[in-house]
């Protein structure tokens, strides 16, 4: 099958074939990752659900830059997460170390926790909420959000579900 010159069926060099196969494998892996659905049963597609992302300890100018109606995207994938339907702002807290060696959770003047609730469109598979096909949104995961006016690098998914 392979002759003394390393050719398969006396026609194609095995080395050339291996190089092409390696390239095709990388390309196939990239396409699969981008387009193929993950293993699981699709229960519902094009469903609406709600995602709330928390940004902690942020300054007022970031709070002011988020508005109801803004479309928020996941920064690294440019995948739209949803449209902002509600914004809640609370005083931020942080650990304050005292000179007597104790620590307390203290309110931070001029800093806020923002809770941004978005209405998302995606699919629900095996109780997982997916946007953009394969992007799994899970409670507790870190997420970088952007809109056309604001960048929230340290967001955490606070809630995801079918009702806000």
């Amino acid at each position: 099958m392979i002759d003394e010159k390393g050719r398969l069926f006396k026609r194609v060099s095995v080395v050339d074939l291996l190089i092409v196969l390696a390239f095709v494998a990388v390309l196939a892996g990239f396409v699969y990752r981008q387009m193929a659905p993950s293993i699981g049963v699709i229960i519902r597609a094009d469903e609406r659900f709600y995602v709330t992302v928390q940004g902690a300890g942020i300054r007022h100018f970031i709070v002011d830059a988020v508005e109801v109606g803004d479309v928020m995207y996941r920064r690294h994938s440019r995948q739209p997460i949803g449209r902002v339907v509600d914004i809640r702002v609370e005083t931020a807290y942080d650990v304050m170390l005292r000179t007597d060696g104790t620590a307390v959770l203290a309110p931070m003047e001029g800093r806020y926790d923002i809770f941004i609730t978005m209405e998302s469109a995606g699919s629900i598979r095996d109780e997982r909420f997916l946007v953009g096909g394969n992007d799994h949104i899970a409670r507790g995961s870190e997420i970088e959000l952007v809109s056309n006016r604001v960048f929230l690098p340290t967001g955490e998914v606070y809630f995801v579900g079918e009702r806000p």
Binding site: F61, N148, F151
Partner: protein, 158 residues
């Protein structure tokens, strides 16, 4: 020495050279400093740069009209319309009241530089040429009157 050719035709060194040329051209485009070209669908935007912990009075040397550049890629990102200063604040524990306060630091200021430019605005980004501006984005900016690292604190679509 036997010459290796892919499928008997293509010299792999030639392929590598072509890839190298493409990368050099791409890098040249990416790091070039084109003058701001106004796109057909552009609109005016104003954004504010905050430079922290500048010496008090630093803003007084920044004149309106100066062209502002991104220091990393040398991109023209607009011109100064205003500059002002506010007391620089740092977090400081107030143990008596169990509160973390924002305290003014004497002798230092936040310098705010208001920049105006033409930008293309989409749902995803506000783009001044190749430069994207967003609130809370870190920015290294310079003009003939200043240079510094700070954050964008407001973006207004006019």
């Amino acid at each position: 020495m036997r010459k290796y050719r892919l499928f008997g035709l293509i010299n792999p060194v030639d392929v590598l050279l072509v890839i190298l040329v493409v990368l050099v051209v791409w890098a040249g485009y990416l790091f070039s400093a084109p003058q701001q070209v106004v796109a057909d669908n552009a609109q005016r935007v104003r954004f504010t740069i905050e430079l922290p912990a500048r010496p008090e009075g630093f803003h007084e040397g920044i004149r309106p009209g100066g062209v502002v550049f991104d220091s990393v890629r040398g991109l023209n990102i607009g011109h100064v319309v205003d500059a002002y200063g506010l007391p620089f604040l740092e977090d400081a524990p107030d143990e008596a009241n169990n509160v973390i306060r924002r305290g003014a630091v004497e002798g230092l200021e936040f310098t705010y530089i208001v920049v105006e430019a033409w930008a293309v605005v989409t749902d995803y980004a506000t783009e001044i040429g190749q430069y994207v501006v967003r609130v809370n984005q870190e920015i290294a900016a310079r003009s003939v009157d200043f240079a510094g690292l700070g954050f964008i604190t407001s973006v207004e679509h006019m």
